[in-house]
Symmetry: C2
Subunit: 119 residues, 2 copies
């Protein structure tokens, strides 16, 4: 039985906007991501997406509002909802979503990260 | 868009071993639980189960080992695996598992909590 320590895992990578898988629950993945500056507007048509803030502060811009999220907070972005995460300083977050979800959702561009990168 | 603050949610209840739902991701639920002393040996035949430690220290006893988990750590208990969580002092954890999972799994006894209690 192997436990997972978030701080230890966060020390294993430094690239931003590139989710790293740390665990699977059935067909769902828990992924750590370091983010800074702006991401691309996108949506996930087939699934909700959970953001849990482990360190720092992030913002998620929606079409009608922007939500600020700090360490110890989470949000569920409902499927099909356009959103754009960003952070002024580097922040570390955990995503929870089904295996196979692309970070840029319905968009493929230079921010699209390889999937299923385990650390 | 409603964000969720773990500390705020933890202040909303004081009973132990009684999971409170704070969010849903598709058909999965995120549940907060305060635990102390011993729980019952049980397993979940149909699903893995994630434990994320938000505050304090817990132990999960398996048939061949006991794992200690501290704040900032998580573990995936694979489906069908007998386990018994316990905590020497009160600890606060978050469970992630499909909607409808009973806290005592394949056992029904006085520790079995009502399901789907939202806070």
């Amino acid at each position: 039985m192997k436990k997972i320590n978030f701080k230890d895992k966060l020390q294993k990578f430094s690239d931003q906007w590139s989710p790293k898988v740390i665990a699977e629950l059935n067909n769902y993945q828990f992924k750590l991501v370091k983010i800074q500056n702006d991401f691309v507007w996108h949506k996930h048509d087939d699934t909700d997406e959970v953001f849990i803030i482990l360190k720092g502060k992030i913002f998620i811009e929606f079409e009608n509002e922007t939500v600020e999220l700090n360490e110890g907070e989470m949000i569920v972005v409902p499927k099909g909802t356009k959103h754009r995460p960003y952070a002024k300083k580097e922040a570390s977050i955990m995503l929870v979503e089904p295996r196979g979800v692309l970070n840029t959702g319905d968009i493929v561009d230079e921010m699209t990260a390889p999937n299923d990168q385990w650390i």
